[in-house]
């Protein structure tokens, strides 16, 4: 059974690229979201294996969303933060969040995601 993924990003072009890359590498993209407000509800409903979460969302930051998910009992999937910026731009924010990893958007591939989930 293919691992399921939820993509949260306000840029449609990235969502499209990410879906193409993940699906070509065996992921089942179960949903796409363009802001942080609906993430919790979608995670409860879809229960994805991985949430690909953009750091710079229009309504809140990926770290804020992370904190929400951490408090959620229903969550079973893992969060991977993605950004067009470099990991160093965020200091220790990524480290101290509940996310299990960070991937620069340009480096996104199923292989990297699988490695982080392992």
């Amino acid at each position: 059974m293919s691992p399921t993924a939820l993509i949260v990003d306000d840029h449609p072009s990235f969502r499209a690229s990410a879906r193409a890359v993940l699906e070509s590498e065996g992921f089942d993209v179960v949903g796409e979201l363009e802001d942080g407000a609906s993430v919790l509800e979608a995670v409860v409903a879809l229960d994805p294996d991985v949430v690909l979460l953009d750091v710079q969302l229009p309504d809140m930051s990926g770290f804020d969303v992370c904190a929400l998910l951490e408090d959620c009992e229903a969550r079973s999937g893992r969060v991977i933060l993605v950004s067009s910026r470099d990991l160093a731009d965020y200091g220790d924010l990524v480290e101290s969040s509940c996310a299990c990893g960070f991937v620069p958007k340009g480096d996104l591939s199923g292989e990297v995601i699988t490695a982080l989930l392992a």
Binding site: F14, A18, A20, V21, S84, G106
Partner: protein
């Protein structure tokens, strides 16, 4: 009782018995008295009766059992016999007795006369204050009167008579010399005058003035020398005292720093003394006016005054001539060399010690030339400081340590700036009247601290004007040197309200520029992030996809490549847009007019452009470009305009950029960061931005940019 016979009387007289006793015995009348008539009685107006001893006697009058018989000779009274009236029964007896006594009576009368005369002179010499002494040719005192005895220091004449006069009236050290002088006068002993000082028998120092004259006998020989003298001890003492007093007065007179000059009541300058023709003025006067004495004595005092226009000097002298002290007068006195010095003087009536006039006028004064000069200098200095104070732009005022403003203790700037009249300022408590109530305590504490010795420092506080305007003042308070035990402090303030406003504006403008810059950077980052970067990320992912599929699914890979091509085109276009936003390349390469043409071409409404071709400084071109760009953006966003006019004019020293639209107007330059950002950008170049936007009247934005040089 039987009468004495004539023969008995004659025998008695021949025996030398006193005539009265002989007569009393002959007539058997014990109370009988004989009086003699003296034709010239010394000390009285005419003749008079005396007793046989020469003492004055009352006129003999018959009565009370007594009778009087007058004895005459050659028709003149000689004597009167007062006898028992019972003898009147025997007139023959009386006549016989008086006839027998006739010669004796005559003789006795002469003796009485002599005695009377001696008694008179004795009385006179002993009662007059003058000294009288008779000295023989050997210098032995023969006689002297009571005054002379007293001067000699004795009580009794007998202690003195018979001694050499130099032993009595001359001090021991001088006796030999006097004795020799006396001997040298012999035998004529001419009349002379002497003054001598000696210590008498009582030890008193006496001064005697003697006048002597010789007494000659019938042969013309000198038998005695009579000396009349006067005790001048007191007078001499007084004279000495007076002399000493005059010496002291003269010394004081001459050593006084005040000028003094004696004038006759007519105002002419006096000499010093009858014996001293030098001017009656002290050294200070002579030194001050420097005239030769002969040019001053007799000259009217007013003559050496530079002027007496108001007649005050003349009045002062007249006042003193009238016996009163005058008021003070200030006069310049002329010196011989033509220079003058200023004196303050008064005229005082004084006694003339030389006794030549009732009184004199003493002009007594002090040289105030230096004080005058000093006062003039101080006055000039004061005027100078006053001018500075009143022309200074700073606010200046003087207060005491309780903060009370002194009368007229504020300069014009203070009055004008704080809107008070000069008369309203004195007496006000500085911090209560001129300082904003919320800061009065701060100011009061600062001033009291400085008055108590703290270091003055510049402070900023809010002062208030009379009409309640609040002024930002930078001020200091400095203690002045103490005068008359009074502490005065000088408060100096500068109205920095305008400067502060400009400063505040500048700060705000800078802050806005920094914020605008920050905002622009954020926008740029956001734009890069949201635009080109996302597209490049997508391209990167797409190329990886192509790589993984190019062998397994070449069609799909070709499709992804085509999409990537479009994506790349978008990315390039977005980057170009961004670059233009940062600084349009056309402005740098081809200038303002070309850049404005690009802006006009891209505007979604008609733009009429009128701009010169010439190149300007980079700053001015950029500012003008952004004014137009922002204005056109605003027109597109808010104005609902159909057209706009962009005009650029280069006038003398300034570039004027105008953007006018035909839209709805009502733009508020205070709102929205766009217009204010433009104003800031223009202000950096010392330019101005004006917005005219009446409702429904379109909007005109006009920027004036100074051109350097």
């Amino acid at each position: 009782m039987s009468r004495v016979s004539i023969s008995e009387l004659v025998v008695a007289l021949e025996d030398g018995a006193p005539l009265r006793d002989a007569l009393a015995s002959a007539l058997r009348d014990d109370d009988l008295a004989v009086l003699y008539w003296l034709e010239e009685r010394q000390g009285t107006a005419g003749g008079g009766w005396v007793d046989p001893q020469g003492h004055s006697a009352d006129e003999p009058i018959a009565g009370d059992g007594r009778s009087v018989k007058l004895v005459e000779h050659d028709g003149r009274h000689i004597a009167a016999i007062e006898y028992d009236a019972a003898l009147d029964d025997e007139p023959e007896l009386l006549d016989a007795v008086t006839a027998a006594a006739g010669l004796a009576l005559q003789n006795d009368r002469l003796q009485a006369e002599l005695r009377a005369e001696v008694a008179f002179w004795d009385t006179v010499t002993n009662t007059v204050p003058s000294l009288l002494a008779t000295v023989d040719t050997d210098g032995v005192i023969r006689n002297l009167n009571a005054a002379a005895v007293d001067v000699a220091g004795h009580e009794d004449k007998r202690d003195v008579v018979g001694r050499d006069y130099w032993d009595v009236f001359i001090d021991a050290w001088e006796r030999e010399e006097v004795r020799e002088r006396f001997a040298a006068l012999a035998p004529d002993f001419p009349a002379g005058e002497y003054e001598n000082t000696f210590v008498n028998a009582r030890g008193d120092r006496r001064v005697v003035f003697w006048r002597t004259a010789p007494v000659h006998d019938a042969n013309g020989d000198v038998v005695a020398i009579v000396s009349g003298g006067a005790d001048i001890t007191m007078r001499r003492k007084r004279e000495l005292e007076l002399e000493r007093e005059r010496d002291v007065q003269t010394t004081v007179f001459d050593s006084m720093p005040s000028i003094m000059v004696a004038l006759a009541p007519d105002g002419t300058i006096r000499d010093r003394d009858g014996d001293d023709p030098s001017v009656g003025a002290n050294r200070a006067f002579k030194k001050a006016v420097d005239w030769p004495d002969e040019q001053l004595v007799g000259r009217p005092f007013l003559d050496i005054l530079v002027e007496d226009d108001d007649g005050r000097a003349a009045r002062a002298i007249a006042t003193a001539a009238g016996g009163d002290t005058s008021d003070y007068v200030e006069s310049a006195l002329l010196s011989a060399d033509g220079s003058s010095r200023v004196f303050v003087w008064s005229a005082i009536p004084i006694a003339d010690v030389t006794g030549r006039m009732d009184h004199l006028v003493l002009v007594c004064g002090a040289d105030i030339t230096d004080r005058y000069r000093l006062e003039a200098e101080q006055e000039r200095e004061r005027a100078f400081l006053y001018t500075i104070a009143n022309n200074a732009p700073s606010l200046l005022c003087l207060i005491d340590e309780r903060g009370v403003m002194t009368e007229r203790g504020a300069n014009i700037a203070f009055e004008h700036t704080l809107e008070y009249e000069p008369a309203e300022i004195g007496g006000q408590v500085f911090w209560e009247t001129f300082v904003d109530p919320s800061e009065a305590d701060d100011v009061r504490n600062a001033i009291i601290g400085i008055a108590a010795g703290e270091m003055p420092a510049e402070r900023d506080n809010t002062w208030t004007t009379k009409t309640g305007r609040r002024l930002s003042m930078a001020w200091t308070c400095t203690p002045l040197p103490r005068i008359d035990e009074r502490t005065l402090l000088l408060v100096t303030g500068i109205d920095i309200t305008e400067r502060k406003r400009v400063d505040d504006d500048l700060r705000a403008s800078r802050a806005r520029l920094v914020r605008a810059e920050e905002t622009a950077r954020r926008a740029l980052e956001r734009n890069l992030h949201d635009g080109a970067q996302q597209r490049l990320v997508a391209l990167s992912v797409a190329l990886r996809l192509v790589e993984t599929r190019i062998d397994s699914d070449p069609d799909a890979a070709r499709k992804v490549l085509a999409g990537a091509q479009i994506e790349l085109g978008h990315a390039l276009e977005e980057l170009r847009e961004l670059a233009r936003g940062i600084h349009p390349a056309v402005l740098t390469d081809r200038g303002l007019r070309a850049a404005l043409e690009t802006l006009a071409a891209r505007a979604p409404f008609a733009v009429e452009l009128d701009a010169p071709e010439e190149r300007l400084s980079t700053d001015v071109e950029a500012a003008a470009y952004y004014v137009v760009a922002e204005a056109l953006t605003n027109v597109a966003k808010y104005a609902r305009a159909t057209s706009a006019q962009v005009t650029v004019r280069r006038d003398d020293g300034a570039l004027t950029v105008t953007v006018a639209d035909d839209g709805v107007g009502g733009a508020d330059p205070g709102k929205g960061s766009g217009l204010r950002g433009l104003a800031d950008r223009v202000a950096v170049l010392d330019g101005t931005l004006a917005v005219d936007s009446p409702p429904n009247g379109g909007t005109t934005i006009r920027a004036e940019l100074p051109l350097a040089g």
